[in-house]
Symmetry: C2
Subunit: 236 residues, 2 copies
DNA sequence: AGGAAGATTATTGTATACAAGATTTGCAAA
DNA sequence: TTTGCAAATCTTGTATACAATAATCTTCCT
């Protein structure tokens, strides 16, 4: 079974481009030129277009008819809406996980939690950020609702660049870890209401974290518009 | 046709094919042949492929590498998972709507509700089914969370064919309407907890409705399947 | 000099051609 | 009759060619 060969090229391209988006290599507003991408990846325009169409329906980019594709620029208000939904999905995962997690689920969650602790102790935000995802994904899986887990993973991924910035905020990593602690305990003792509530507020963007988000946003799309002159000015 | 000309062809095709899927014209398991579709719609394979790719990432169809696309066959277990998530999204919409709905939102909801009443009194399930969607969409909008409304609408649409069958069940239309009544009142008086709870149980597939769903599923994909064992069993 | 209109260029959208893998069909042997 | 294999056929995946629209540049007029 030639596993790699059976995968569609447009799929691989979608992954690679998506990776470049969520890591910030293609920041919001970046114009995605089809021929340029085709040359970069050494393929023709066809699979590139198919990849872009997928990214568009997943919300990562915006395709304006006859005017090309740009990396989605999410307005602050909409970002808050997305975090609100994310919080509710996480809460649901937590509630279900508290009810349905089996020993192995709990084990995976605890392991991910322990790994986070190491990163926190080492004061390594980048590693913590990565392990934090593992922790949350473990909870999604423990919900034993595959569809929910997929939805949560997808949205989590879309919010990845913004979440990353959040962890830079002073003490956020420590607070995050303490909250994780409470989450693990709630799930382990089967307290579904507590698990849901803690996860919801863990994810939600409220109070001062709202201001933090806005501030980090400003640092993210500094003045990127679709106007090429802006890029020129920046490079000058 | 100037106005229509500005819209991508693959977009229009996606809509038309999606419509054929959710209305049941292309039942689950149907093979979607690219050249056949191209001839049917009088276009080349390229826009057809782009439409199929979109439908795939929205979950309406399944593309197996080098083996073509089929209309998604959602297993009963997964369908339940999807309804569970739908229930939670609806609950969230209801909670927010109860808090944030303005006079005009309430007005639209009440109008949709009144329209449902007419269809119920006329004992017209098809019309009720259509107006029921309008009612729910009105609540999504009243949540004043655009992203949430989009997610809810998308999932609602995906579940459309299954929901439709549910309404055929004896008395489901009457029960549904009574529940709508309670929902409207909860939202109108700003009782967010009640709105969320009623909406959740209104949508959820629990108890006897679970059996109804399974039964209607059986009537839906009668013999169309990719699972060889099922085909063998049936042909025996 | 500034702006408008037309021409030019560049990029997207669609169609067709070609390549590669999967399915089917036909045939032979057990 | 059924099973295994191989050739033929059909379908998908990718590349290229062409068409149509948007962006840019030039030129001319005020």
């Amino acid at each position: 079974m030639e596993a790699a060969g059976t995968v569609r090229l447009s799929e691989q391209l979608r992954e690679r481009i998506e990776e470049n988006i969520v890591t910030g290599a293609y920041p919001p507003g970046t114009r995605l030129d089809e021929v340029e991408l085709a040359e970069t990846f050494g393929v023709s325009r066809t699979p590139i277009r198919e990849a872009l169409i997928q990214l568009s329906s997943e919300g990562f980019i915006e395709i304006r008819p006859r005017r090309g594709a740009i990396v989605a620029q999410i307005a602050p208000a909409r970002l808050c809406e997305m975090f609100d939904v994310m919080a509710e999905l996480e809460a649901m995962c937590g509630r279900l996980a508290a009810r349905r997690a089996v020993a192995e689920d709990i084990k995976r969650i605890r392991e991910a939690h322990a790994a986070c602790q190491s990163a926190r102790d080492a004061n390594d935000p980048d590693t913590y950020y990565r392990l934090n995802e593992t922790f949350h994904f473990a909870i999604y899986v423990a919900s034993h609702n595959g569809f929910l887990a997929e939805q949560a993973t997808g949205l989590h991924r879309r919010l990845r660049p913004y979440r990353r910035l959040q962890l830079r905020v002073r003490n956020r990593m420590n607070n995050s870890f303490d909250e994780h602690n409470a989450i693990v305990e709630a799930i382990a003792r089967g307290d579904s209401d507590a698990a849901a509530d803690i996860l919801r507020s863990h994810v939600a963007v409220q109070g001062e974290r709202f201001a933090d988000l806005i501030a980090s946003l400003a640092s993210m799309h500094p003045d990127k518009t679709t106007d090429p002159t802006t890029a020129m000015r920046r490079s000058a």
